[in-house]
Amino acid sequence: MKFYVCIKMVPDVYAPFQIKDGVLIMDADRMVLNAYDASAVEEALVLTEKHGGEVEVVCIGPAKASETIRKALAMGADKGTHISISGDEAFDSGSYARILSAFFKKKEYDVLSLGKQSQDTDSGLTGSMVAALLNLPYATNAVGLEVEGATLIVKRQGDTGQEMIELPTPCAVTCSNDMNEPRIPNLKGIMASKRKPIDVVELSSLGLSDDELSSNSKVISFEHKPARKAGQKFEGDAEEVAHKVAQLLDTEANVL
């Protein structure tokens, strides 16, 4: 099966940062492969190793994104495409989805896979947007994937339980990071990735109008999460403390 995995370069969301005058400033410039996309790449590799096929990755990003593509190639992807943008465009999920669908209109594939959300925005919209724009059957929040002939079997974590969904190919799927542990590229993989091709595609060559590229949502500013009011802490004799808190839940908090 031919897998096309869309990957995104995101800041390391666990690195230290500051908020100054509503602007989010990361302490270091470290950018990483979106963890959910890494799971998508991993699963594509597992399935093609098992059933045969090919894994290609595509990334929309500024120049530095080529490192993210290399990481996916080092994991084992066969080929990469870098859709080159400046990085200052402030695209939202919709812009990214329209760019991706313009790119995929001319491509052949069995499965179009993405991480279910990206760590910088946690919006989780792009995947199903792309599926809709390309009119592909799709499933989101996959926690397991399997291939049966020309069908992709998706185990989806839904509200009531796990849904087993059969998707005819070509199809789209978004992946949860609960699906697997993405492999850490070994030295052989890193060395091999240097020789794998990365096609660079200029955004302008995809023929999208300014309107199609523009975002209709914008982040105006950032602020710190409002702190929860400080609570009461109890130590000491277990029985005493347990009784006390139980009483407080009744009389003070009124939640019983």
Binding site: V13, Y14, F17, L24, G94, A97, K116, D120, T121, D122, S123, G124, L125, S128, M129, A131, A132, L133, P137, A139, T140, G158, D159, T160, G161, Q162, E163, M164, I165, E166, L167, D178, N216, S217, K218, V219, I220, S221, F222, E223, H224, K225, P226, R228, G231, Q232, K233, F234, E235, A238, V241, A242, H243, V245, A246, L248, L249, A253, V255, L256
Partner: protein, 324 residues
């Protein structure tokens, strides 16, 4: 007149509380901005929920009835919603942010060419769209977002708004829609509902959550007993669901369920950011942990530093007394 349309999700034969929270907010905004407050119910027995919905202020309720909606399926839901939106032509379509919503929100906005913002903790109308606050950066930071457009789709994190009753006699509009499973490209083979008859965490008023400190059968049975006494849902941190000790559908956290009960009791949970992101909207948080430096104590309203084997039995006893 323009409207705010709220999607009412039905689960297990009941209206999901989170949908009613969103409806309450939509009603307040509609009143404040001179818009009508409308709702849509898409379910096999959609009309049986009219009373439950008009209680919260929806003056017009669209219903679509079809057996295809007995389980969540994205394709028919998208078609059904598109039809209602075409009929209602709302300014804003509001959803509770559930897995079902996440499955369709992006696709719906693409189909409708609508603006969209997901997973907000609060939202307001602007002259040409919506402004909202939403958590970003592993829920450590709040982003202020503005979306413009003639139609905006929005999903709201559970627990962001209170239920506000505002009873009204609604106009019910039944929308014609039918879907054949055979016509669908994606097929739902089966649903493995491991939770079975346990309380749905998204609806629970009280949740007892187990973390790494819950190491053995004795601890687990204490958790079950506490949940029984409080009629609580049982949730777990990622460590335990990954270890297979509790089912993944019980995972509470950034990548699991986001819950907003009245009372959340965290037992043996350290309080890592990713877990807190899933329960910070709880009204009252109790934490039991033997590490006095555990971060969970920073969010707990009542923190008990102690050994759960020693604290839980008297805690359960006292709660039994109070409840009787």
């Amino acid at each position: 007149m323009s409207s705010i349309l709220t999607y009412i999700a039905i689960s297990d034969g009941k209206i999901k509380r989170s949908s009613l929270e969103v409806l309450s907010r939509s009603k307040a905004l509609a009143d404040a901005n001179g818009l009508t407050c409308e709702a849509v119910i898409i379910a096999p027995k959609a009309t049986s929920f009219i009373d439950g919905v008009q209680k919260y202020g929806a003056s017009k309720i669209y219903t679509i009835t079809d057996s295809i909606f007995d389980q969540h399926r994205n394709a028919p839901l998208l078609s059904a919603l598109s039809k209602v939106i075409g009929t209602s032509k709302p300014r804003v379509v509001a959803f509770a942010s559930t897995e079902g919503t996440k499955d369709i929100l992006g696709a719906l906005s693409a189909n409708q060419n609508a603006g969209v913002v997901a997973d907000v903790s609060s939202f307001d109308l602007t002259s040409n769209g919506v402004k909202a606050k939403r958590p970003v950066m592993a829920a450590k930071v709040v982003g202020n977002v503005e979306v413009t457009g003639d139609v905006i789709l929005i999903s709201v994190r559970s627990g962001s708004y209170d239920l506000i009753e505002s009873p009204i006699n609604a106009e019910v509009v039944s929308v014609d829609f039918s879907s054949n499973e055979g016509d669908l490209k994606a097929k739902l083979r089966e649903i493995i509902s491991a939770t079975g008859d346990t309380i749905d965490l998204n609806e629970a008023e009280v949740i007892v959550a187990a973390g790494r400190g819950v190491k053995d059968d004795e601890a687990r049975s204490l958790i079950s007993e506490l949940a029984r006494v409080l009629n609580a849902g049982i949730g777990a941190s990622r460590a335990l669901t990954e270890a297979g000790i509790y089912d993944p559908s019980l995972q509470i956290g950034q990548t699991g369920k986001v819950v907003s009960p009245q009372l959340y009791i965290a037992i043996g949970i350290s309080g890592a950011i990713q877990h807190v992101a899933g329960m910070a909207n709880s009204k009252v948080i109790v934490a039991i942990n033997k590490d006095p430096d555990a971060p969970i104590f920073e969010v707990a309203d009542y923190g008990i530093v102690g050994d759960l084997y020693k604290v839980l039995p008297p805690f359960i006893e006292e709660l039994k007394k109070i409840k009787s």
